[in-house]
């Protein structure tokens, strides 16, 4: 069970308070109507799914209800950082 630092509450809380919501930093296209089916499908369904460093969106569902981002290693499950929406990760697979 993960021990997750909520960047809004600024506390570590148990995983049971959170929901994982998939890959982070996937922006809804600004003009959906201009998207081709392929572009829309890519936005909806196609994901990086890396083995290793992954930036993902979580929500503190049974806490402050805020969405935030986690950089996590999907192999070791180590959480490398958590950061607020609108911020960029400091740990990436390139760094």
């Amino acid at each position: 069970m993960f021990y997750i630092h909520c960047p809004y509450c600024d506390e570590h809380r148990e995983e049971e308070e959170f929901h994982a919501k998939g890959q982070a930093h996937i922006a809804r296209p600004l003009d959906p109507d201009a998207c081709t089916d392929e572009e829309w499908g890519n936005f909806l369904y196609f994901r990086a799914n890396p083995r290793g460093i992954h930036h993902e969106l979580w929500v503190h569902a049974a806490g402050c209800r805020k969405f935030f981002n986690i950089t996590r290693d999907t192999q070791t499950y180590a959480i490398l950082e958590t950061y607020r929406l609108g911020e960029q990760p400091s740990v990436t697979s390139q760094s």
């Binding site: 929901h19 089916d37 990086a48 799914n49 083995r51 996590r72």
Partner: protein
């Protein structure tokens, strides 16, 4: 191939079992194959077997980074059923079911396919509507499936709590008598042995770390242990690792890899002779021929390649099991483990060509891969042999996620007014 039989056992017993042949060779890879299958799990091995047997394509290598059948084949809860809702899925899984029914004889390997029936329980009125809907669709698709009321369920599983005092009382179930379980390791080994006998090279402990490309076409793979191996066509059957292999070829898949956990009790005397599944309370259970209660959980919500998941999932699963079977409260849990399942947005597989020429993927089986093993291999073998999707595979193109023709097997949305 050395034929297995009771008589053979007797003969070998007289020579103290010193003369059994190898079940498969341990070949060094050739430079070039007609087809390379990446991934030596049940699906990959089945693909190789049917390629050789049905399509006479025998210059085939199966490349496995670990040991044969060491992925989800070795980690699942062995349930086989075909009572899927939508025509496309039902036809695919029923195709697999029909293959299962003669597979031990076909492979000359006892897979212990035990058609002891599967119950899918309903606990709410909407569950029961969904069950009726699915059972009717199954029946008209020629799949054995019936809807049972509470009394009918209780008759099949006398030890289950079917009373109304349960938090979510059992209102009924769908029942597929031909469904059941099989011995998971044997499936991989049986296909491997038979494929090897037809000339397929099974290359273990060999990890693919790149897809070789030429003019937008895949022409081979690079391996850590043996360098480049070339092929006319490449089929990737790597389940939870599909995203990783796709990335080598430079594209993404509509797939996310999640942990899926399971657990077994200590072996106890046979007490449960059928498979019981419940989506509402989230748990499923059967009892193996060794006596273990084999119990499966829901998937964990996050991506993970660690072959383990979160403990609360195990807690919820056992809560569900004890809720359905209060008498199991004093039975003890022996082991838990996790697999990596490749889930798709519509809970249906991807059997498909890709943006890369000569590169094909068979993945996205999510929590339901084991039951499809022979069917998956059979249709993917034809896809690889012909270079285009087999008729049963066609609806499962990865491009359905662009045009919207999803085959949503999540079951009805479960929203109530």
């Amino acid at each position: 191939m050395q034929k297995y039989s009771g008589f053979g056992l007797l003969k070998h017993a007289l020579s103290h079992h010193e003369n059994w042949q190898r079940v498969w060779r341990n070949p060094k890879p050739k430079k070039h194959y007609d087809v390379i299958i990446v991934g030596g799990g049940g699906h990959g091995l089945a693909t190789a077997y049917y390629l050789a047997k049905v399509h006479k394509v025998t210059n085939v290598a199966v490349i496995e980074k670990g040991y044969l059948g060491g992925g989800n084949t070795a980690r699942n809860t062995t349930i086989v059923r075909s009572n899927y809702l939508w025509d496309e899925a039902a036809f695919l899984y029923e195709h697999a079911m029909k293959l299962w029914e003669g597979l031990a004889q076909d492979l000359n390997y006892n897979l212990m396919f035990s058609q002891r029936g599967v119950l899918n329980l309903g606990h709410t009125l909407q569950d029961m509507r969904d069950i009726e809907r699915r059972v009717n669709a199954n029946r008209l698709n020629g799949i054995d499936s019936v809807a049972l009321d509470t009394a009918g369920v209780q008759k099949i599983v006398p030890i289950m709590d079917c009373t109304s005092r349960a938090r979510y009382p059992i209102l009924g179930a769908s029942w597929q008598p031909r469904a059941g379980v099989a011995r998971h390791d044997a499936v991989a080994w049986g296909f491997a042995r038979a494929a090897d006998a037809l000339g397929v090279d099974l290359i273990q402990q060999c990890e693919v770390d790149d897809i070789l490309m030429q003019n937008g076409n895949a022409v081979g793979v690079n391996t850590k242990q043996y360098g480049e191996i070339h092929a006319d066509r490449i089929g990737c059957v790597v389940a939870g690792n599909s995203g990783v292999v796709a990335k080598m070829a430079g594209f993404e898949l509509p797939v996310e890899s999640h942990p899926l956990q399971a657990l077994v009790s200590e072996p106890i005397r046979p007490i449960l002779d059928t498979v019981v599944m419940s989506n509402q309370v989230h748990g499923y259970i059967s009892q193996s021929d060794k006596g273990d209660l084999v119990i499966g959980a829901g998937i964990d919500g996050y991506n993970g390649y660690g072959q383990r998941g979160s403990y609360p999932t195990i807690e919820h699963t056992l809560q569900a099991i004890v809720e359905m079977f209060p008498i199991f409260s004093r039975v003890r849990m022996n082991r838990q483990w996790g697999g990596i399942v490749d889930t798709t947005p519509d809970a249906c597989p991807i059997i498909s060509d890709t943006p890369i020429g000569n590169l094909f993927f068979n993945c996205g089986w999510g929590t339901g891969g084991f039951k499809a093993t022979p069917g998956s291999g059979h249709v993917f073998a034809e896809t690889l042999a012909k270079g285009e999707a087999n008729a049963l595979a066609k609806p499962f193109s990865m491009f359905r996620f662009h045009n919207g023709a999803l085959v949503d097997e999540h079951g009805a949305a479960g929203v109530a007014h």
